[in-house]
């Protein structure tokens, strides 16, 4: 039996969960109106969470700076940058040519692109580790990856005209079969998790039973 503090959230989840499962199958105007209203409510209810998040962010980094923890300088830069962006947006707006937009275009976007480009190196190191033929599975993986990569470049067809077709078969047959198998499990898992929560069986999201 749920304790008193958990009864209300459980009741809200059970009632609203059931209502919105039914709503999904009812296309009529009142049903769609209810859905749109719920979306608006979820945005409104999320707003106080922004305040909590900003409070958490400032407290977390301020504490690191105060305690001079490892990397406290990064926290200082982070808080300074967050303040600068907020001030630029509030003072000059976020339109084209504003300071906020210039900071975004010339500082934030290149930094994001830099981290994104690191993916190539991470992939190489991960591929090196996994493609070392230490077991039958790893050897199979190595061979499949080799054929796939060859099939995607002109050199593959130059070696043997059938390589692109083999490469495509690997992608569309064994690879697709595995993906669809995973898809069935994921689909049923999603429905089962949703039903568990709606039925009140799953309560870990409230910190355990």
């Amino acid at each position: 039996m749920a304790d008193k503090g958990k009864r209300l959230p459980l009741l809200i989840v059970i009632v609203l969960g059931t209502v919105f499962v039914v709503q999904y199958f009812v296309p009529s105007r009142p049903s769609q109106g209810l859905y749109r209203q719920a979306l608006r409510w979820s945005i409104v209810m999320g707003l106080p969470a922004i305040v909590i998040a900003i409070d958490s962010l400032v407290r977390h980094h301020a504490a690191r700076i105060r305690r001079r923890q490892a990397g406290w300088g990064d926290s200082l830069v982070y808080l300074g940058a967050a303040l600068l962006m907020a001030a630029a947006g509030l003072a000059g707006g976020v339109g084209e040519g504003s300071l906020f937009m210039r900071l975004f275009t010339y500082a934030m976007a290149p930094m994001q692109a830099t981290v994104f480009s690191l993916l190539a190196f991470y992939m190489t190191s991960a591929a090196y580790r996994s493609f070392r033929a230490r077991s039958a599975e790893a050897t199979l993986l190595l061979a499949s990856a080799f054929i796939l990569m060859l099939g995607l470049i002109p050199l593959g067809a130059a070696i043997w005209r059938g390589i692109p077709a083999v490469s495509e078969w690997l992608l569309l047959v064994p690879n697709m079969a595995a993906k669809r198998g995973l898809g069935f499990g994921i689909g049923l898992g999603i429905v089962a998790t949703a039903l568990k929560i709606i039925l009140g069986v799953e309560r870990s999201w409230m910190g355990g039973s």
Binding site: S56, L57, V115, L118, A126, G207, G208
Partner: protein, 383 residues
Amino acid sequence: MTIPRPIRLSMPATAALLALCANAFAVRPPAQLQAKDSPDDEGGKVRLEWRLSPDDSAAAVKGYLVERAASADGPYAEVRQVFRGSASYEDQKLQDKTDYYYRVRALGAAGDTSEPAQAGPVQARQQWFRKGKLNAVIGLVLFLLIIVYYLRRAQKENLFLRRLAGLDALEESVGRATEMGRPILCVLGSQGLDSVATIAGLNILGQVARQTAEYGTPLLVPTQDFIIQAVAREVVKTGYAAQGHPDRFSEDSVFYVVGNQMGYASAISGLMSRQRPAANLFVGHFYAEAMVMAEAGNATGAIQIAGTDAVTQLPFFIVACDYTLMGEELFAASAYLSRQPQLVGTIKAQDLGKVILVALLLALSVLTLALRTPFFYNLLGVQ
């Protein structure tokens, strides 16, 4: 050499010849225009479908002009021009239960229009059930019945659950972190609270929080979403309270980092290299940042356990993590960790659901191939 004399035509003959020439060069009209109420909607929409003008493929047609009127005799007003090759249009914002008439003309490249194809009257109406999702309703009800059956069965007997190495390692990683005096890092993915994978991640976090509360191991939960931060904090706090150690919970353990994808990946990578968590958990839905975080964690030598329903990110987690929960295993984690009979029962229901689904697919595939009709194939399609 004789020069032919010009032919002289009378006025009516000239007019008839001009009309003949105009008809010869005008684009031919679309055919078989059908106007129907849009199915499975909230009303106010009519769907038009027609067969393309025979001149459509020859590029003589620029597009199609859709016109609407309240009576068959008109006047017709232009509703929309659609591109060449378009054989359908959905007219919106109409009054329900009101008669409408439609005409569709082909627009010639020279600006001329064809004779119209006509349809009507038609009325827009709202529906109270999505007929295209009837199979989904049947499947959902059937699956619900299976879950209820296994929930009852789980109360009477112990149901077998196969071992999941990744989840067995979870408790071991908490113990390892405790011995090493290092924290456990839990990353809840990059989607919001509307993602079931995030909720599954929160379920796992709840179980992990109970274990870290028991052992007094520091837990770090940096989040990318402010709503998840608020919910995750409550989940961890309640987990600590449930184990009788509310004093061990630190408000600072669950914190918001940034909403930006790569900014978040950088922050997590930095946190891993500075604080060197003994175990990293990646549970939820991930995108390209998965590889950045998992490789950064791999470099620190931490035990890494990942669980995601993002099929495209699974290979990256498999190569960079020690254990990976693939797809449905993520959703089974909460039941596996808590060992609550009712939750275990739902896992058995999922297994039976899979068996039924695969059997159904096989049977319908055989019937489709044997009888050469798409009817059975379409039975599983959801519109």
